[in-house]
Amino acid sequence: MKRKLDFDIDLHHLPRVEGHGNIRISVRDGRLAEATWAVVETPRFFEAIVKGMSAERVPFLTSRICGICSISHSLASIRALERAMEITPPETALTIRLLAMHGETLQSHALHLFFLAAPDFLDAPSALPIMQSHPEIVRAGLQLKELGNEISTVTTGRCTHPVSLVLGGVSKAPSRELLLRLKTMIAERLPALERTTEFFSTLTIPQFVRETEFISLRNGSAYPSIGGDLVSTDGVVRDEEDYLRMTNEYLVAFSTSKFTKVTRQSSAAGALARFNNNFGLLHPRARAAAAAFGLEPVCHNPFMNNVAQLVECHHIMEDAAMLVDRLLDADLLDIRTAFKPKAGSATGAVEAPRGILYHHLETDDEGKVVKADCIIPTTQNNANIHYDLHALAEQALAEGRNEAETEKLCVILVRSYDPCISCSVH
């Protein structure tokens, strides 16, 4: 008689992801008994500590929610507060902010693709041995990551925890010299992106499909970044202020991060969700890159989130160059609108590198925050990761895979979501 399979996978503090999460898989008599995605990160209680703070200081606090996507957090708070207090920033400041978002996303995607994801596909424990085995690939990755950081530094004063993003606009505009240097740098680094694309096209992406609902922003005129309608691939369209009905947060016993859902049991946010909802608004060069990977909307393979990030890098390079040109023609002195604090309440939704991010803030007459709510992209992916793990482990068992193979697939799956766990718990 054939021996039935029995094993337990218990991965404590999964490496090469931001934050602390555990994977638990149990198989008894060849059948899946448990598959859990448990977030064990310590909460920092940002929604409580932001209460009582002056509006102008809030973006400097909320940016500290995340060490990778601090610009997105800063701009989500700024958008919420500017809408709440009816502040209209000058056009130049809005362009600077869009460029800053591109810098952050390029940096984040390059970090994920090269440092966190690539080692899985080359059977390496980290990017360090890859520096020896594939030096030209790592060099390309570092060039893209450096470019992302440089865009963020030029637009916001620093690459992590922005300095000059403020209510009413920006506190300092980049100089023409820095913008011209950035323009040259973007053009010079296009070959690095080509090399990266060639390299990733040689990797084998696991085949796995579990139909899900993809949530992102959509504005109808440009690939989404700051503000817009909340949409899903199941046809849901809601106003930005209606964010609670797009998340429906709930608590689960095994996680310090909350779970969310919309129409189905779970939903997904991130590069693949943006791609699935906004394919037609990508730059033609990015669409061509997607075609080379056979990536088409609506794609339900979560492993393809890696490819969607790469596709977005192509879009960012083109769009960032266009925004730099626009700034070179703009009035770089008209960057900040004066305002008087007042009572109000509004939502700011932005597309952070890992997906749609909501800050909802309410102020009193003096502009002090009286209520805050932050819903993080990874929070919106937790349930999807959890149920994907279950389906993937079932598939692995049906395919006759052993414990080591199953574990490897599950780990790559979680990393494909590029989770930002401390952010999700905040």
Binding site: E47, A48, R64, S126, S171
Partner: protein, 254 residues
């Protein structure tokens, strides 16, 4: 590695994170143009955020974040026992950071605000130095990679590790910035330790003191400056409390 005839050994380092945003560790992978040279100076033994290799033999532990849960205390003590040198890495580790803002409120109220009655363990945010002995602190929110590079070179070459003793104003003047006080804003530059190249005032925003107090500051003169300029004392207190680096001075003032 040979430098000027001296044989130098790479530092066996490990990087650990507690309650934080992990932004300080991330700086280690920044400044990409000098990254290969930087990595040649260190032998990374344990760094969960970028590597699945985990070894327990390390000489230097970089510890990021503050402490807010009992399991973190145990983990930190184990790290202290294994490391020859422990570095509090970043503002949360050195001073408690923005996490300490929750210490003003009863912890039950903080939990209720976010988790709606679910039982969640947390305690007032503590510095790394409140739990274990700290050999060096590298402040900053986030740490400055340039400063980290400088300190790593000092450690490899067995030179003394130093931080600037003077305030941010010195660096700000070197960058020829207009003083924010002259623009009507309170800036903590006069009382905060330099080493950040005055990055915030250079971007036209106030220093919020992430690097903690400089040595031998004249705090009463700073408070007097705020009063003389008829600026808001409440604003000054909000700024001083932001990173928890000025606790003693805040009490003095209020």
């Amino acid at each position: 590695m040979n430098h000027l005839g001296f044989e130098l050994q790479p530092l066996k380092i490990a990087s650990f994170d507690f309650t934080c945003c992990e932004g300080c560790q991330l700086q280690l992978a920044n400044r990409e143009s000098t990254l290969p040279e930087f990595l040649a100076l260190v032998d990374i033994r344990n760094f969960r955020e970028i590597s699945s290799e985990r070894h327990d033999d390390y000489d230097i532990a970089l510890v990021e974040g503050s402490i807010t849960r009992s399991d973190e205390i145990e983990r930190l003590k184990t790290i202290r026992a294994r490391a020859k040198m422990l570095v509090a890495f970043g503002t949360c580790a050195c001073f408690g950071g923005v996490n300490s803002l929750k210490n003003r409120m009863p912890q039950e109220a903080v939990i209720r605000e976010v988790y709606d009655g679910k039982a969640i363990e947390t305690m007032p945010s503590m510095r790394i130095g409140d739990i274990v002995e700290v050999d060096y602190g590298i402040p900053g929110c986030p740490v400055s990679k340039e400063e980290v590079e400088r300190i790593v070179v000092s450690l490899v070459s067995r030179s003394p590790v130093t931080l600037p003793t003077y305030p941010v104003c010195v660096e700000c003047k070197q960058r020829l910035n207009t003083c924010l006080f002259d623009l009507g804003e309170i800036c903590l530059g006069p009382v905060t330790r330099a080493g950040c190249d005055a990055v915030c005032p250079t971007g036209n925003t106030a220093c919020l003191g992430c690097r903690g107090p400089a040595e031998e500051i004249n705090f009463p003169a700073f408070a007097q400056l705020v009063r003389d300029k008829e600026l808001s004392m409440a604003d000054m207190r909000e700024k001083l409390a932001f990173y928890n680096g000025f606790g003693d001075y805040l009490e003095e003032e209020t």
